[in-house]
Amino acid sequence: MTKQTKTLPFDVEKIRQDFPILHQEHHEGVPLIFLDNAASSQKPTQVIDAISNYYHNYHANVHRGIHKLSEQATEAYEGARKKMRDFINAPNHRQVIFTRGTTESINLVAFTWGRKFLNEGDVVLSTQMEHHSNIVPWQILADEKGIKVEYIPVLEDGTLDMVAYQQMLETHPVKLVTVVHSSNVLGTVNPVKEMATLAHEHGALILVDGAQSVPHMPVDVQDLDCDFLAFSSHKMAGPTGIGILYGKRDILEAMPPYQGGGDMISKVTLDGSTWNDLPYKFEAGTPSIAEAIGLGVAVDYLSNIGMDKVHEYEQMITAYALERLDEVSGVTVYGPDASRKGAVAAFTLDNAHAHDVAQVLDSHGIAVRAGHHCAMPLHDILCVTATARASFYIYNTFDEVDKLAEALEKVKDTFIL
Protein backbone atom coordinates (compact mmCIF):
# COMPACT_ATOMS: atom_id res chain seq x y z
CA MET A 1 0.00 0.00 0.00
CA THR A 2 1.09 3.55 -0.49
CA LYS A 3 0.44 6.37 1.84
CA GLN A 4 -2.32 8.03 -0.17
CA THR A 5 -4.58 5.07 -0.81
CA LYS A 6 -6.45 4.85 2.48
CA THR A 7 -8.00 7.36 4.82
CA LEU A 8 -6.43 7.29 8.25
CA PRO A 9 -8.50 6.04 11.21
CA PHE A 10 -7.78 9.19 13.24
CA ASP A 11 -6.26 12.63 12.89
CA VAL A 12 -2.55 12.04 13.53
CA GLU A 13 -1.73 15.77 13.43
CA LYS A 14 -4.24 16.36 16.21
CA ILE A 15 -2.67 13.55 18.26
CA ARG A 16 0.76 15.08 17.71
CA GLN A 17 -0.42 18.34 19.27
CA ASP A 18 -0.94 16.46 22.54
CA PHE A 19 2.71 15.34 22.76
CA PRO A 20 4.86 18.39 23.61
CA ILE A 21 8.18 16.54 23.34
CA LEU A 22 7.66 15.95 19.61
CA HIS A 23 7.77 19.66 18.81
CA GLN A 24 11.46 20.23 19.37
CA GLU A 25 14.52 20.44 17.24
CA HIS A 26 16.57 17.33 17.77
CA HIS A 27 19.63 19.17 16.49
CA GLU A 28 19.70 22.74 15.28
CA GLY A 29 17.31 22.96 12.35
CA VAL A 30 16.58 19.24 12.47
CA PRO A 31 13.18 18.23 13.84
CA LEU A 32 12.81 15.16 16.06
CA ILE A 33 11.50 11.94 14.53
CA PHE A 34 10.94 9.58 17.42
CA LEU A 35 10.98 5.95 16.29
CA ASP A 36 12.03 4.27 19.54
CA ASN A 37 8.54 3.59 20.85
CA ALA A 38 9.04 -0.10 21.53
CA ALA A 39 11.61 0.96 24.14
CA SER A 40 9.36 3.65 25.62
CA SER A 41 6.65 5.86 24.19
CA GLN A 42 6.22 9.60 24.72
CA LYS A 43 3.55 11.08 27.01
CA PRO A 44 0.63 13.34 26.15
CA THR A 45 0.00 16.60 28.02
CA GLN A 46 -3.05 15.00 29.66
CA VAL A 47 -0.84 12.44 31.44
CA ILE A 48 1.84 14.95 32.39
CA ASP A 49 -0.80 17.34 33.76
CA ALA A 50 -2.54 14.61 35.77
CA ILE A 51 0.72 13.78 37.54
CA SER A 52 1.47 17.44 38.12
CA ASN A 53 -2.06 18.06 39.40
CA TYR A 54 -1.74 15.20 41.87
CA TYR A 55 1.48 16.57 43.35
CA HIS A 56 0.20 20.15 43.28
CA ASN A 57 -3.17 19.50 44.85
CA TYR A 58 -3.84 16.18 46.53
CA HIS A 59 -0.71 14.19 47.29
CA ALA A 60 -0.95 12.03 50.42
CA ASN A 61 -0.42 8.37 51.18
CA VAL A 62 -3.24 6.07 50.15
CA HIS A 63 -5.42 3.59 52.09
CA ARG A 64 -4.54 4.63 55.63
CA GLY A 65 -5.40 8.26 56.06
CA ILE A 66 -8.68 9.60 57.36
CA HIS A 67 -7.99 13.11 56.12
CA LYS A 68 -9.34 14.54 52.90
CA LEU A 69 -6.12 14.42 50.88
CA SER A 70 -5.61 10.74 51.64
CA GLU A 71 -9.21 10.03 50.68
CA GLN A 72 -8.77 11.90 47.39
CA ALA A 73 -5.50 10.12 46.62
CA THR A 74 -7.06 6.74 47.48
CA GLU A 75 -10.06 7.42 45.24
CA ALA A 76 -7.76 8.36 42.34
CA TYR A 77 -5.40 5.42 42.86
CA GLU A 78 -8.20 2.87 43.12
CA GLY A 79 -10.02 4.58 40.26
CA ALA A 80 -6.97 3.97 38.08
CA ARG A 81 -7.11 0.28 38.98
CA LYS A 82 -10.70 0.10 37.77
CA LYS A 83 -9.74 1.81 34.51
CA MET A 84 -7.08 -0.88 34.01
CA ARG A 85 -9.65 -3.59 34.75
CA ASP A 86 -11.92 -2.23 32.03
CA PHE A 87 -9.04 -1.71 29.58
CA ILE A 88 -8.07 -5.41 29.58
CA ASN A 89 -11.58 -6.66 30.43
CA ALA A 90 -10.52 -8.29 33.69
CA PRO A 91 -13.50 -9.76 35.59
CA ASN A 92 -12.62 -7.93 38.81
CA HIS A 93 -10.39 -5.02 39.83
CA ARG A 94 -8.84 -7.19 42.56
CA GLN A 95 -7.13 -9.14 39.77
CA VAL A 96 -5.25 -6.03 38.66
CA ILE A 97 -2.00 -5.69 40.62
CA PHE A 98 0.17 -2.60 40.31
CA THR A 99 3.84 -3.49 39.89
CA ARG A 100 6.88 -1.55 38.66
CA GLY A 101 6.40 -2.89 35.14
CA THR A 102 6.39 -5.99 32.98
CA THR A 103 9.70 -7.19 34.40
CA GLU A 104 8.50 -7.04 37.99
CA SER A 105 5.17 -8.63 37.03
CA ILE A 106 6.96 -11.66 35.57
CA ASN A 107 9.37 -11.84 38.51
CA LEU A 108 6.40 -11.73 40.88
CA VAL A 109 4.89 -14.79 39.23
CA ALA A 110 8.23 -16.62 39.16
CA PHE A 111 9.05 -16.00 42.80
CA THR A 112 5.60 -16.51 44.32
CA TRP A 113 3.67 -18.93 42.12
CA GLY A 114 6.85 -20.56 40.80
CA ARG A 115 8.46 -21.06 44.21
CA LYS A 116 5.31 -22.54 45.69
CA PHE A 117 3.96 -24.67 42.85
CA LEU A 118 6.98 -25.75 40.76
CA ASN A 119 9.03 -28.77 41.72
CA GLU A 120 12.24 -30.39 40.52
CA GLY A 121 11.89 -31.68 36.97
CA ASP A 122 8.90 -29.47 36.09
CA VAL A 123 9.23 -27.58 32.83
CA VAL A 124 8.60 -23.90 32.18
CA LEU A 125 8.12 -23.56 28.43
CA SER A 126 9.22 -20.24 26.99
CA THR A 127 10.17 -19.27 23.43
CA GLN A 128 13.30 -18.32 21.53
CA MET A 129 11.94 -14.82 20.87
CA GLU A 130 11.55 -13.70 24.47
CA HIS A 131 12.82 -10.52 26.04
CA HIS A 132 15.39 -11.27 28.76
CA SER A 133 12.75 -10.39 31.36
CA ASN A 134 10.85 -13.54 30.40
CA ILE A 135 13.94 -15.78 30.37
CA VAL A 136 16.16 -14.79 33.27
CA PRO A 137 13.62 -15.03 36.14
CA TRP A 138 12.92 -18.62 35.09
CA GLN A 139 16.64 -19.40 34.86
CA ILE A 140 17.13 -18.08 38.40
CA LEU A 141 14.25 -20.28 39.52
CA ALA A 142 15.76 -23.25 37.66
CA ASP A 143 18.98 -22.87 39.66
CA GLU A 144 17.02 -22.66 42.88
CA LYS A 145 14.39 -25.35 42.34
CA GLY A 146 15.82 -27.72 39.74
CA ILE A 147 13.09 -26.96 37.22
CA LYS A 148 13.90 -26.92 33.50
CA VAL A 149 13.36 -24.06 31.07
CA GLU A 150 12.69 -25.12 27.49
CA TYR A 151 12.14 -22.87 24.47
CA ILE A 152 9.69 -23.14 21.58
CA PRO A 153 11.74 -22.64 18.37
CA VAL A 154 11.29 -19.70 16.01
CA LEU A 155 10.79 -20.59 12.34
CA GLU A 156 12.57 -18.84 9.49
CA ASP A 157 9.57 -16.61 8.81
CA GLY A 158 9.80 -15.27 12.34
CA THR A 159 6.79 -17.14 13.72
CA LEU A 160 6.72 -19.75 16.46
CA ASP A 161 6.97 -23.44 15.54
CA MET A 162 3.48 -24.48 16.62
CA VAL A 163 4.09 -28.13 15.72
CA ALA A 164 7.08 -28.19 18.05
CA TYR A 165 4.96 -26.43 20.69
CA GLN A 166 2.35 -29.20 20.63
CA GLN A 167 5.04 -31.87 20.73
CA MET A 168 6.77 -30.23 23.68
CA LEU A 169 3.48 -30.05 25.57
CA GLU A 170 2.98 -33.75 24.95
CA THR A 171 6.49 -34.92 25.78
CA HIS A 172 7.54 -32.59 28.63
CA PRO A 173 6.02 -32.10 32.10
CA VAL A 174 5.11 -28.49 31.28
CA LYS A 175 3.58 -26.57 34.20
CA LEU A 176 3.76 -23.08 32.71
CA VAL A 177 3.93 -21.67 29.19
CA THR A 178 5.34 -18.16 29.26
CA VAL A 179 5.23 -16.36 25.94
CA VAL A 180 5.56 -12.90 24.49
CA HIS A 181 2.36 -11.70 22.82
CA SER A 182 4.17 -9.48 20.34
CA SER A 183 7.94 -9.73 19.85
CA ASN A 184 9.93 -6.55 20.52
CA VAL A 185 12.33 -7.43 17.70
CA LEU A 186 10.51 -9.48 15.07
CA GLY A 187 7.16 -7.87 15.75
CA THR A 188 5.58 -11.31 15.47
CA VAL A 189 2.12 -11.42 17.03
CA ASN A 190 1.91 -14.88 18.55
CA PRO A 191 -1.36 -16.87 18.60
CA VAL A 192 -1.62 -16.71 22.39
CA LYS A 193 -5.31 -17.59 22.49
CA GLU A 194 -4.66 -20.84 20.65
CA MET A 195 -1.55 -21.40 22.78
CA ALA A 196 -3.61 -20.90 25.96
CA THR A 197 -6.13 -23.53 24.86
CA LEU A 198 -3.33 -26.00 24.15
CA ALA A 199 -1.54 -25.22 27.42
CA HIS A 200 -4.74 -25.77 29.41
CA GLU A 201 -5.45 -29.04 27.58
CA HIS A 202 -2.10 -30.24 28.88
CA GLY A 203 -2.65 -29.01 32.43
CA ALA A 204 -0.28 -26.03 32.15
CA LEU A 205 -0.90 -22.38 32.95
CA ILE A 206 0.00 -19.60 30.51
CA LEU A 207 1.63 -16.25 31.19
CA VAL A 208 1.42 -13.67 28.40
CA ASP A 209 4.03 -10.91 28.20
CA GLY A 210 1.90 -8.07 26.85
CA ALA A 211 4.55 -5.33 26.99
CA GLN A 212 4.44 -4.89 23.20
CA SER A 213 0.80 -5.82 22.61
CA VAL A 214 -1.34 -4.04 25.22
CA PRO A 215 -0.13 -0.57 24.09
CA HIS A 216 -0.94 -1.32 20.45
CA MET A 217 -4.05 -3.48 20.09
CA PRO A 218 -7.20 -4.48 21.98
CA VAL A 219 -6.25 -7.18 24.52
CA ASP A 220 -9.02 -9.00 26.36
CA VAL A 221 -7.81 -11.33 29.11
CA GLN A 222 -11.09 -13.24 29.22
CA ASP A 223 -11.07 -13.81 25.47
CA LEU A 224 -7.43 -14.95 25.51
CA ASP A 225 -8.13 -17.05 28.62
CA CYS A 226 -4.59 -16.36 29.83
CA ASP A 227 -3.76 -17.10 33.46
CA PHE A 228 -1.41 -14.12 33.77
CA LEU A 229 -0.87 -10.96 31.70
CA ALA A 230 2.08 -8.65 32.33
CA PHE A 231 2.55 -5.19 30.81
CA SER A 232 4.12 -1.77 31.37
CA SER A 233 2.73 1.74 31.51
CA HIS A 234 5.64 3.57 29.91
CA LYS A 235 5.21 1.90 26.52
CA MET A 236 1.58 3.03 26.32
CA ALA A 237 1.78 6.80 26.86
CA GLY A 238 1.88 6.42 30.64
CA PRO A 239 4.66 7.19 33.13
CA THR A 240 7.66 4.97 33.92
CA GLY A 241 7.88 2.91 37.11
CA ILE A 242 4.47 1.28 36.95
CA GLY A 243 2.90 -1.70 35.24
CA ILE A 244 0.30 -4.35 35.72
CA LEU A 245 0.10 -8.00 36.59
CA TYR A 246 -3.30 -9.49 35.83
CA GLY A 247 -4.02 -12.98 37.12
CA LYS A 248 -6.93 -15.37 37.46
CA ARG A 249 -8.44 -14.95 40.89
CA ASP A 250 -8.11 -18.51 42.21
CA ILE A 251 -4.47 -18.58 41.21
CA LEU A 252 -3.66 -15.19 42.75
CA GLU A 253 -5.41 -16.20 45.96
CA ALA A 254 -3.34 -19.39 46.21
CA MET A 255 -0.05 -17.53 45.69
CA PRO A 256 2.06 -16.38 48.65
CA PRO A 257 2.94 -12.67 48.89
CA TYR A 258 5.83 -11.24 46.86
CA GLN A 259 7.32 -8.72 49.29
CA GLY A 260 6.57 -8.23 52.96
CA GLY A 261 5.77 -4.87 54.49
CA GLY A 262 3.00 -2.36 54.95
CA ASP A 263 -0.33 -2.51 53.14
CA MET A 264 0.00 -6.22 52.33
CA ILE A 265 -0.87 -7.54 55.80
CA SER A 266 -4.09 -8.17 57.63
CA LYS A 267 -2.53 -8.69 61.05
CA VAL A 268 1.05 -8.75 62.25
CA THR A 269 2.40 -10.17 65.48
CA LEU A 270 6.02 -10.91 66.35
CA ASP A 271 5.25 -14.60 65.85
CA GLY A 272 3.69 -14.31 62.40
CA SER A 273 1.38 -12.43 60.08
CA THR A 274 -1.70 -12.92 57.94
CA TRP A 275 -2.13 -11.43 54.50
CA ASN A 276 -4.42 -8.73 53.24
CA ASP A 277 -7.00 -9.42 50.51
CA LEU A 278 -6.27 -9.14 46.78
CA PRO A 279 -4.75 -7.07 45.30
CA TYR A 280 -3.06 -5.57 48.37
CA LYS A 281 -1.37 -8.86 49.28
CA PHE A 282 0.99 -8.15 46.37
CA GLU A 283 1.40 -4.40 46.89
CA ALA A 284 3.74 -4.04 49.87
CA GLY A 285 4.84 -0.54 50.77
CA THR A 286 3.63 2.81 49.54
CA PRO A 287 2.73 2.32 45.89
CA SER A 288 3.52 4.53 42.90
CA ILE A 289 0.45 6.71 43.37
CA ALA A 290 1.19 9.46 40.85
CA GLU A 291 2.25 6.88 38.29
CA ALA A 292 -0.95 4.85 38.72
CA ILE A 293 -3.03 8.00 38.27
CA GLY A 294 -0.98 8.91 35.19
CA LEU A 295 -1.42 5.42 33.74
CA GLY A 296 -5.17 5.70 34.27
CA VAL A 297 -5.20 8.91 32.25
CA ALA A 298 -3.04 7.32 29.53
CA VAL A 299 -5.58 4.53 29.24
CA ASP A 300 -8.38 7.10 29.00
CA TYR A 301 -6.42 8.77 26.21
CA LEU A 302 -5.91 5.53 24.25
CA SER A 303 -9.52 4.46 24.82
CA ASN A 304 -10.75 7.78 23.47
CA ILE A 305 -8.90 7.07 20.23
CA GLY A 306 -10.03 3.43 20.35
CA MET A 307 -7.57 0.54 20.53
CA ASP A 308 -8.97 -0.95 17.34
CA LYS A 309 -8.11 2.30 15.54
CA VAL A 310 -4.68 2.43 17.17
CA HIS A 311 -4.06 -1.05 15.82
CA GLU A 312 -5.46 -0.24 12.38
CA TYR A 313 -3.24 2.83 12.04
CA GLU A 314 -0.13 1.01 13.22
CA GLN A 315 -0.76 -1.80 10.73
CA MET A 316 -0.90 0.81 7.98
CA ILE A 317 2.26 2.66 8.97
CA THR A 318 4.14 -0.61 9.56
CA ALA A 319 3.14 -1.95 6.14
CA TYR A 320 4.29 1.33 4.60
CA ALA A 321 7.58 1.24 6.53
CA LEU A 322 8.30 -2.32 5.38
CA GLU A 323 7.58 -1.25 1.81
CA ARG A 324 9.91 1.76 2.02
CA LEU A 325 12.67 -0.19 3.80
CA ASP A 326 12.45 -2.88 1.14
CA GLU A 327 13.30 -0.23 -1.45
CA VAL A 328 16.58 0.58 0.30
CA SER A 329 19.06 -1.87 -1.15
CA GLY A 330 21.09 -3.70 1.49
CA VAL A 331 18.39 -3.49 4.16
CA THR A 332 17.22 -6.76 5.71
CA VAL A 333 14.13 -6.54 7.91
CA TYR A 334 13.62 -9.39 10.38
CA GLY A 335 10.30 -10.97 11.19
CA PRO A 336 7.03 -11.77 9.41
CA ASP A 337 5.12 -9.65 6.91
CA ALA A 338 3.14 -6.63 8.04
CA SER A 339 -0.15 -8.50 8.43
CA ARG A 340 1.31 -10.64 11.21
CA LYS A 341 3.48 -8.00 12.80
CA GLY A 342 3.37 -5.30 15.46
CA ALA A 343 4.64 -1.78 14.79
CA VAL A 344 8.30 -2.81 14.81
CA ALA A 345 10.92 -3.05 12.08
CA ALA A 346 14.27 -4.45 13.23
CA PHE A 347 16.79 -4.38 10.40
CA THR A 348 20.41 -4.55 9.37
CA LEU A 349 22.01 -2.58 6.57
CA ASP A 350 24.63 -4.63 4.73
CA ASN A 351 27.78 -4.72 6.82
CA ALA A 352 27.19 -1.44 8.64
CA HIS A 353 26.98 -2.01 12.38
CA ALA A 354 23.60 -1.16 13.94
CA HIS A 355 25.21 1.35 16.30
CA ASP A 356 26.71 3.22 13.38
CA VAL A 357 23.37 3.16 11.58
CA ALA A 358 21.65 4.58 14.65
CA GLN A 359 24.32 7.26 15.06
CA VAL A 360 23.90 8.53 11.52
CA LEU A 361 20.10 8.40 11.79
CA ASP A 362 20.39 10.45 14.98
CA SER A 363 22.25 13.15 13.07
CA HIS A 364 19.15 13.31 10.85
CA GLY A 365 16.94 13.74 13.90
CA ILE A 366 15.75 10.13 13.85
CA ALA A 367 15.76 8.24 17.15
CA VAL A 368 15.96 4.46 16.74
CA ARG A 369 17.28 1.76 19.03
CA ALA A 370 20.36 -0.29 18.19
CA GLY A 371 21.63 -3.42 19.84
CA HIS A 372 20.16 -6.74 20.89
CA HIS A 373 17.01 -5.16 22.38
CA CYS A 374 17.27 -7.40 25.47
CA ALA A 375 16.80 -10.44 23.23
CA MET A 376 20.30 -11.87 22.84
CA PRO A 377 19.18 -15.49 22.29
CA LEU A 378 16.96 -14.37 19.41
CA HIS A 379 19.84 -12.45 17.81
CA ASP A 380 22.00 -15.58 18.09
CA ILE A 381 19.33 -17.46 16.15
CA LEU A 382 19.12 -14.68 13.55
CA CYS A 383 22.96 -14.86 13.34
CA VAL A 384 23.39 -11.13 13.89
CA THR A 385 25.00 -9.43 16.86
CA ALA A 386 22.82 -6.38 16.68
CA THR A 387 19.96 -4.83 14.74
CA ALA A 388 18.67 -1.30 14.37
CA ARG A 389 15.01 -1.01 15.25
CA ALA A 390 12.43 1.53 14.17
CA SER A 391 9.19 1.24 16.11
CA PHE A 392 6.04 3.27 15.69
CA TYR A 393 3.23 4.71 17.74
CA ILE A 394 0.07 6.74 17.25
CA TYR A 395 1.91 10.01 16.59
CA ASN A 396 4.30 8.79 13.91
CA THR A 397 3.58 9.85 10.34
CA PHE A 398 4.10 8.42 6.88
CA ASP A 399 6.38 11.39 6.15
CA GLU A 400 8.59 10.31 9.03
CA VAL A 401 8.85 6.87 7.43
CA ASP A 402 9.93 8.56 4.18
CA LYS A 403 12.61 10.48 6.06
CA LEU A 404 13.85 7.24 7.63
CA ALA A 405 14.23 5.64 4.20
CA GLU A 406 15.97 8.74 2.84
CA ALA A 407 18.35 8.88 5.81
CA LEU A 408 19.25 5.21 5.37
CA GLU A 409 20.47 6.04 1.86
CA LYS A 410 22.79 8.58 3.49
CA VAL A 411 24.01 5.92 5.93
CA LYS A 412 24.98 3.83 2.93
CA ASP A 413 26.98 6.75 1.51
CA THR A 414 28.93 6.94 4.77
CA PHE A 415 29.57 3.32 5.61
CA ILE A 416 29.07 1.20 2.55
CA LEU A 417 31.33 1.50 -0.44
Binding site: E71, E78, R94, I265, T274, Y280
Partner: protein, 131 residues
Protein backbone atom coordinates in the same frame (compact mmCIF):
# COMPACT_ATOMS: atom_id res chain seq x y z
CA UNK B 1 -30.54 14.66 61.22
CA UNK B 2 -26.76 14.18 61.22
CA UNK B 3 -26.69 15.24 64.89
CA UNK B 4 -29.14 12.52 65.79
CA UNK B 5 -26.95 9.93 64.07
CA UNK B 6 -23.89 11.31 65.76
CA UNK B 7 -25.51 10.99 69.18
CA UNK B 8 -26.56 7.43 68.45
CA UNK B 9 -23.07 6.53 67.26
CA UNK B 10 -21.46 8.00 70.35
CA UNK B 11 -23.98 6.26 72.60
CA UNK B 12 -23.26 2.86 71.04
CA UNK B 13 -19.52 3.49 70.93
CA UNK B 14 -19.40 4.35 74.64
CA UNK B 15 -21.91 1.73 75.82
CA UNK B 16 -21.36 -1.19 73.51
CA UNK B 17 -24.37 -3.56 73.60
CA UNK B 18 -23.66 -7.30 73.91
CA UNK B 19 -20.04 -6.69 74.85
CA UNK B 20 -18.07 -9.77 75.86
CA UNK B 21 -17.53 -13.12 74.18
CA UNK B 22 -19.89 -16.10 74.57
CA UNK B 23 -18.28 -19.28 75.81
CA UNK B 24 -18.95 -22.39 73.71
CA UNK B 25 -20.47 -20.27 70.96
CA UNK B 26 -21.91 -21.74 67.74
CA UNK B 27 -20.12 -19.08 65.68
CA UNK B 28 -16.74 -17.65 66.63
CA UNK B 29 -14.61 -15.55 64.30
CA UNK B 30 -12.21 -12.60 64.40
CA UNK B 31 -11.37 -10.18 61.59
CA UNK B 32 -9.10 -7.16 61.19
CA UNK B 33 -9.16 -3.97 59.21
CA UNK B 34 -5.61 -3.83 57.89
CA UNK B 35 -5.89 -0.14 57.03
CA UNK B 36 -6.12 1.04 60.63
CA UNK B 37 -5.70 -2.03 62.82
CA UNK B 38 -9.31 -2.33 64.01
CA UNK B 39 -10.11 -5.75 65.41
CA UNK B 40 -13.49 -7.42 65.84
CA UNK B 41 -14.20 -10.75 67.53
CA UNK B 42 -17.80 -11.92 67.07
CA UNK B 43 -19.48 -14.90 68.79
CA UNK B 44 -23.06 -16.13 68.31
CA UNK B 45 -25.43 -18.64 69.88
CA UNK B 46 -27.70 -20.20 67.26
CA UNK B 47 -30.77 -22.28 68.14
CA UNK B 48 -32.82 -23.91 65.37
CA UNK B 49 -31.16 -21.59 62.89
CA UNK B 50 -32.09 -18.46 64.86
CA UNK B 51 -29.45 -16.20 66.41
CA UNK B 52 -30.40 -16.06 70.09
CA UNK B 53 -27.33 -14.48 71.62
CA UNK B 54 -24.58 -12.14 70.41
CA UNK B 55 -21.29 -11.42 72.14
CA UNK B 56 -18.36 -9.46 70.81
CA UNK B 57 -15.29 -7.51 71.68
CA UNK B 58 -12.75 -5.58 69.71
CA UNK B 59 -10.71 -2.45 69.32
CA UNK B 60 -11.36 0.41 67.00
CA UNK B 61 -12.73 3.80 66.29
CA UNK B 62 -16.18 5.04 67.31
CA UNK B 63 -17.58 4.15 63.88
CA UNK B 64 -16.40 0.53 64.02
CA UNK B 65 -17.47 0.08 67.66
CA UNK B 66 -20.87 1.67 67.18
CA UNK B 67 -21.42 -0.27 63.99
CA UNK B 68 -20.64 -3.56 65.75
CA UNK B 69 -22.89 -2.67 68.67
CA UNK B 70 -25.86 -1.79 66.43
CA UNK B 71 -25.26 -4.76 64.16
CA UNK B 72 -25.20 -7.12 67.17
CA UNK B 73 -28.58 -5.84 68.33
CA UNK B 74 -29.99 -6.37 64.84
CA UNK B 75 -28.76 -9.95 64.69
CA UNK B 76 -30.62 -11.18 67.77
CA UNK B 77 -33.78 -12.97 66.63
CA UNK B 78 -32.68 -13.09 62.98
CA UNK B 79 -32.08 -16.43 61.28
CA UNK B 80 -28.40 -17.08 60.52
CA UNK B 81 -29.37 -17.74 56.90
CA UNK B 82 -30.93 -14.28 56.61
CA UNK B 83 -27.96 -12.68 58.36
CA UNK B 84 -25.62 -14.26 55.83
CA UNK B 85 -27.60 -12.61 53.03
CA UNK B 86 -27.19 -9.04 54.36
CA UNK B 87 -25.39 -6.51 52.20
CA UNK B 88 -23.12 -3.72 53.33
CA UNK B 89 -25.86 -1.13 53.01
CA UNK B 90 -27.45 -2.49 56.21
CA UNK B 91 -24.48 -1.53 58.36
CA UNK B 92 -23.87 1.70 56.43
CA UNK B 93 -27.49 2.70 57.04
CA UNK B 94 -26.98 2.10 60.78
CA UNK B 95 -24.21 4.69 60.77
CA UNK B 96 -26.20 6.96 58.48
CA UNK B 97 -23.30 9.29 57.68
CA UNK B 98 -21.81 9.77 54.25
CA UNK B 99 -18.57 7.84 54.78
CA UNK B 100 -15.45 8.26 52.68
CA UNK B 101 -13.64 5.35 51.02
CA UNK B 102 -11.22 4.64 53.87
CA UNK B 103 -13.94 4.87 56.59
CA UNK B 104 -16.39 2.48 54.93
CA UNK B 105 -14.12 -0.35 56.04
CA UNK B 106 -14.53 0.75 59.68
CA UNK B 107 -18.31 0.63 59.43
CA UNK B 108 -18.43 -2.73 57.67
CA UNK B 109 -15.96 -4.67 59.84
CA UNK B 110 -18.72 -6.34 61.90
CA UNK B 111 -20.55 -7.58 58.81
CA UNK B 112 -17.21 -8.63 57.30
CA UNK B 113 -16.51 -10.74 60.41
CA UNK B 114 -19.85 -12.54 60.09
CA UNK B 115 -19.53 -13.10 56.34
CA UNK B 116 -15.87 -14.18 56.25
CA UNK B 117 -16.54 -16.50 59.22
CA UNK B 118 -19.51 -18.16 57.53
CA UNK B 119 -19.11 -17.84 53.76
CA UNK B 120 -15.43 -17.05 53.32
CA UNK B 121 -13.23 -14.16 52.21
CA UNK B 122 -14.26 -14.29 48.53
CA UNK B 123 -17.92 -13.77 49.42
CA UNK B 124 -17.00 -10.76 51.53
CA UNK B 125 -14.93 -9.30 48.68
CA UNK B 126 -17.97 -9.57 46.42
CA UNK B 127 -20.16 -7.78 48.96
CA UNK B 128 -17.51 -5.11 49.51
CA UNK B 129 -17.09 -4.56 45.76
CA UNK B 130 -20.84 -4.22 45.04
CA UNK B 131 -21.30 -0.68 43.72
Amino acid sequence: MEDMYRQMILDHARNQRNWGLIESADFDHEEHNPLCGDRLHLTLKVDDGIITEVGWDGDGCAISQASASMFGEQLIGMSLDDAMKLDKQVVLDNIGLDLTINRVKCATLSLKTLIVGTLGARKWEDIEDAE
